[in-house]
């Protein structure tokens, strides 16, 4: 039945195939509209790399900018017989560098462009441009490197470098090519997406002779490069630079926050190094040296360090006790009988005010003991977990034991011991107050970074809340484009009235208390502060000081730590109060104290152990950034794959709109 229909069906199949073949014949053989693109393969793809966004301080001063430089490429087969000696003299390179780089380029590919010399300054480029006529085969491409006019905040700003193999392979959307620059640390990493802009692509048609026949399809498929967004940071570069100079010869860190907003005014980790040292071709030269330095200048001590909070933690103890009703501002404790010793101070019997003023250890031992005894249990092993868990939840609200959420890629959460922690250590119901009392004075199992200490000062300044500390207040435009999470208000749950007794004690601590000799007194500004002496396993204690000022309507909260400098009032307090003075008065009137701090040099235990091997961190002269340095004699960035389809790189300049707005 219906066997004849086989022929009809097959004929229909073949008819369609026939029509398609005819259509292909027309498209591919007869119609030659598109053959020029096809047969010569000369659709040229140009990549336009946008300039990276610049970074400003809170007053519009430039922290990070770009410098135009030229990279020189060589295409070996185009190189003719040339005067090598003149060439080497022109570029200030050695004959052996020339020979080895050329050999590498040749082995890589004879007709592809290989990087020959990196980062020639504009001046060098202008100097050699005319002479290049006699050296065919060498071409230049505009490039850029980062420069840091303020020469500060190296660790917070971070640096950029060639994308690592791991990061290159991990990218979800393919954007970076190998050899592309990417933010490696700090803000450069955190805000990579915003800073980098968007690479543009431009397609141009070439004819058989390689002549430009205009943009392909009227530029329909081109994408315009978009310049990276500028970052507007919260940093006050003058305060920052003052801290840099005060920390000369010392190791430690300083961080200042505007309490109401959480904006970070200064953030320095010392020993300090010039961020220009890790820029562009300088990188390979200095990175190793910085890495090997015993004082670890590459570590960001502010957000990632681990320290005992020391006496500054007594403030938290007091606030928690007040809120729980364990003490009142007038509660007095006898000084004897506590396993912690008291520094000599007058004014016993002391109340909370004086205990803060003189940082009395036995007093706060008793405060914590009282707090821990509120559980109503008779068995101390049962009571301790109940109260510790309550205490833990309250202290946690100050940001202890957790990340504060700063806009930097790495932040340490520190440690705030929980019931679970002690259960693991001693076993369930195997521990009581006497196992954990060292928490009362900020020693023992609690650890923080300096950011948390400054945040505590800000929390007290605000009488009970803190705002996520952050470094950037504007992306693209000042005050806009910032992740709203950075402005989250965190409430501690401590009632505002509990703060006044503490704050009064803090003011007296600066003026008539633990900060000796009036080193913390600034005329006209009521500074409230608390010293801390964080015990150090090796060597002398770390000197810690946290403060805020003025007492009413505070503008700045600060934490300063100087490693191995001993008692908190001696070094950290003068540095902190000098920074407060600078920020609030815009000038330093206490020149004697400033001089004393500038000339004070404290070697860390690590540096002393390293002895003579520890070299001081070199300083950069402005000239050294513009000298051409030969590229490392390894075939550097990946050259273009096919010479007939060159990928040329061009740069576009930022329109200075944003820059002008901030001035």
């Amino acid at each position: 039945m219906f066997q004849d229909r086989k022929q009809i069906i097959l004929s229909f199949f073949f008819l369609v195939c026939g029509i398609y073949i005819l259509r292909l014949l027309y498209l591919q053989v007869i119609d030659d509209t598109y053959h020029t693109i096809g047969s010569t393969g000369a659709l040229k793809k140009e990549v336009q790399i946008p300039l990276r966004g610049q970074i400003y301080d809170r007053n519009g001063k430039l922290l990070v900018a770009n410098v135009d430089v030229y990279d020189m490429y060589v295409t070996p087969y185009k190189v003719k017989q040339m005067d090598t000696t003149t060439f080497c003299r022109l570029f200030n390179i050695t004959r052996s560098y020339f020979d080895s780089t050329m050999a590498i380029a040749k082995s890589y590919s004879r007709n592809r462009a290989t990087l020959f010399l990196r980062q020639l300054s504009k001046e060098d480029y202008a100097r050699v441009a005319d002479a290049m006529v006699s050296f065919p085969g060498f071409t230049f491409e505009l490039s850029f490197f980062r420069t840091y006019p303020a020469r500060t905040m190296a660790n917070a700003l971070g640096y950029i470098g060639e994308i690592s193999k791991k990061a290159y392979e991990a990218q979800e959307v393919e954007y970076y090519r190998s050899g592309d620059y990417i933010g490696i640390t700090g803000l450069e990493k955190q805000y990579e997406m915003e800073l980098r802009g968007r690479r543009g692509v431009k397609f141009t048609m070439m004819n058989v002779h390689g002549e430009n026949k205009g943009s392909y399809s009227n530029g329909e498929y081109d994408t315009l490069a978009v310049i990276g967004k500028n970052l507007f940071t919260t940093v006050d570069v003058e305060v920052q630079q003052l801290a840099d100079s005060l920390f000369q010869g010392k190791t430690g860190c300083a961080v200042a926050i505007e309490p109401k907003t959480g904006e970070i005014l200064a953030m320095g980790s010392y020993p300090y190094y010039d961020p220009n040292m890790l820029s562009g071709k300088q990188f390979s030269k200095y990175f190793k040296e910085l890495y090997k330095n015993p004082d670890k200048p590459l570590n960001d001590r502010v957000a990632t360090g681990f320290f005992r909070p020391g006496s500054t933690f007594k403030l938290v103890q007091a606030l928690v006790a007040l809120q729980l009703g364990a003490i009142t501002p007038s509660t007095a404790f006898p000084l004897g009988g506590a396993p912690v010793k008291c520094h000599n101070h007058p004014g016993s019997p002391n109340d909370l005010h004086n205990a803060v003023r003189f940082s009395c250890n036995p007093y706060f031992y008793n405060v914590f003991r009282k707090t821990m005894s509120l559980g109503g249990e008779t068995n101390p092993f049962k009571e301790a977990p109940v109260m510790l868990s309550k205490w833990h939840d309250m202290v946690e609200k100050f940001g202890y034991g957790q990340k504060l959420g700063i806009d930097l890629p790495s932040e340490s959460s520190g440690l705030l011991p929980s019931v679970k922690y002690y259960d693991k250590r001693y076993g369930s119901f195997q521990w009581k107050f006497s196992n954990i009392y060292s928490l009362s004075i900020g020693e023992g199992e609690v650890s923080v970074n300096m950011l948390k200490m400054a945040n505590l000062a800000a929390t007290i300044a605000n009488r009970g809340y803190w705002v996520t500390p952050h470094l950037v207040r504007g992306v693209g435009q000042n005050g806009k484009g910032v992740n709203p999470d950075l402005r989250t208000v965190h409430r501690t749950g401590i009632d505002p009235q509990h703060f006044e007794a503490i704050i009064g004690g803090m003011q007296d601590a600066v003026e008539r208390g633990t900060v000796g000799g009036g080193a913390g007194i600034v005329e006209g500004i009521a500074i409230c502060g608390k010293t801390g002496t964080s015990q150090n396993k090796k060597g002398k204690d770390n000197s810690v000081f946290i403060a805020f000022a003025p007492r009413y309507n505070p503008k700045i909260a600060i934490a300063v730590m100087v490693q191995n400098a001993g008692f908190g009032g001696s070094v950290a307090a003068p540095i902190a109060t000098l920074m407060i003075e600078k920020y609030l008065k815009r000038k330093i009137e206490r020149t004697a104290i400033k001089e004393r701090m500038l000339n004070l040099s404290i070697k860390t235990v690590e540096a002393m152990a390293a002895g003579a091997a520890a070299k001081p961190i070199p300083t950069l002269t402005p000239e050294s950034t513009s000298k051409p340095t030969p590229a490392a004699p390894v075939a550097p960035t990946k050259p273009q794959k096919e010479s007939e389809k060159p990928v040329k790189t061009t740069f576009i300049k930022p329109k200075d709109e944003n820059l002008n707005k901030t001035k």
């Binding site: 069906i9 097959l10 398609y20 591919q28 096809g38 793809k45 090519r177 399809s217 389809k645």
Partner: protein, 425 residues
């Protein structure tokens, strides 16, 4: 079963080699489509489509072995059960699927692997249809049987449309060829083709011109093709009736394309007529694939030398638009060879189908040929600008596990049936 130990026995090796040629060529071109000269990866790297396709290809060997090992009677006896199962799976997919590009047709198995049941539903619809039409006493020219057969074929695409995968649903239209072969009066496919032509005319020309053209055609037909004695009043009424229905269809099409179709579907039809109407949007694929193919010239630019199919000019390069890569890199010669291999495969399947003693195997053979043809027809048609963009794969060549597996299963069930053609089911 004891005599079936050598599963190679009776297999039609010509078909197998044609199949293997297409799969291998497809794999080469998938590599070319994802190949980036600035950042070359090897053809075996499973982080890209070519390497994954190689895994899919390797896994088809297992599938083929299973198909060949299973008793050939299973495909007939279990046809309805398979069909029922696949209908349930299709319905379940609507609820289980994760949405990919607006369609809910992919079921995720594990974290990296997903299946598209719609692709597999064709196989089981074909089996069920073959089973039904081969039943004693069933005749497609009887209205009742035609309706049942029609329902078998209509239900899956309706569910697939609910999954928002219109392209796959359309492929069920292929079964009209099977119906025709089994005795559906020729007037139906002829009408279908006539309406399709009318549809295309309406797209390209003003509807009033088309109606006027119809009137002229009717007039010419009346005077030139009908003999004087045939020009009766009755025939005039008939012709008038045809004219009225055709005109109504013309207006209906206009209404359908402007009011019923989704905006993106309207655009796809619009750009077929005039690709420049929206060169960056819906016209993009059409223009780009046409440019890519025509830039290939006679012998092509050479393997991995394509420029249009690099730089991401053509989206869906390794799946639905794989033929562009063939056209650009292998030129007219390569494109024609691919079409000829397909033509040879279709010819081979139809001739084998006609040789079957069992009606079931024959009908199934026609189903296989029709489905393959329909995909070829639509897919290559859209890449060379003769069809609107409908996202269905080119059998055996396109990247994708679901598509490769479903076409492989479809074909090898037929080869298994053919290996036993001397036994009447």
């Amino acid at each position: 079963m004891a005599r079936d130990i050598d599963i190679r026995e009776g297999i039609d090796w010509t078909t197998v080699w044609l199949y293997a040629a297409l799969v291998f060529f497809g794999w080469l071109n998938i590599y070319a489509a994802v190949y980036n000269p600035e950042n070359p990866i090897t053809i075996f790297s499973t982080s890209h489509n070519a390497g994954k396709q190689l895994l899919f290809i390797s896994s088809t060997f297992v599938l083929i072995l299973i198909i060949l090992f299973v008793d050939y009677k299973v495909y007939d006896s279990f046809a309805y059960i398979f069909y029922g199962f696949v209908i349930l799976l299709l319905i379940a997919t609507i609820f289980l699927a994760t949405e990919i590009k607006g369609s809910r047709s992919w079921i995720k198995l594990g974290s990296t692997f997903s299946l598209q049941p719609a692709e597999f539903s064709k196989i089981f619809t074909a089996l069920a249809l073959a089973r039904f039409l081969s039943t004693q006493g069933v005749n497609i020219s009887k209205v009742r049987d035609a309706i049942v057969a029609g329902l078998l074929v209509f239900v899956p695409p309706i569910i697939i449309i609910l999954q928002k995968e219109t392209g796959s649903a359309l492929t069920f239209a292929a079964f009209i060829a099977v119906f025709y072969r089994e005795g559906l009066p020729g007037i139906y496919p002829a009408l279908g083709i006539a309406l399709a032509i009318l549809f295309v005319l309406v797209l390209f020309f003003n509807k009033f011109y088309v109606v006027a053209g119809l009137a002229v055609a009717c007039g010419l037909f009346w005077y030139m093709f009908l003999k004087r004695y045939e020009r009766t009043r009755q025939n005039l009424i008939r012709l008038g009736g045809v004219f009225v229905i055709a005109s109504a269809f013309v207006f209906g099409v206009k209404f359908f394309t402007t009011n019923v179709l989704q905006p993106h579907q309207q655009k796809r039809i619009q750009v077929l007529v005039n690709p420049d109407s929206d060169p960056l949007g819906a016209g993009w694929n059409v223009t780009q694939s046409r440019v890519a193919i025509s830039s290939g010239g006679i012998i092509g630019k050479g393997y991995l030398q394509g420029t249009q199919t690099k730089f991401d000019f053509v989206p869906e390069q390794s799946t639905d638009f794989i033929f562009c890569t063939v056209g650009e890199e292998w030129g007219f010669v390569g494109s024609v060879v691919v079409i000829l291999i397909f033509a040879a495969l279709l010819n081979r399947i139809i001739n084998l189908a006609e040789k079957q003693r069992s009606k079931f195997s024959r009908i199934y053979g026609y189903c296989v040929a029709s489905i393959l043809f329909f995909h070829l027809f639509v897919n290559i048609g859209m890449t060379i600008g003769l069809m609107p963009v409908i996202g269905i794969p080119l059998p055996f060549l396109s990247y994708g596990g679901s598509s490769l597996w479903s076409f492989t299963i479809l074909l090898f069930i037929f080869l298994k049936l053919d290996a036993h053609r001397s036994y009447k089911v």
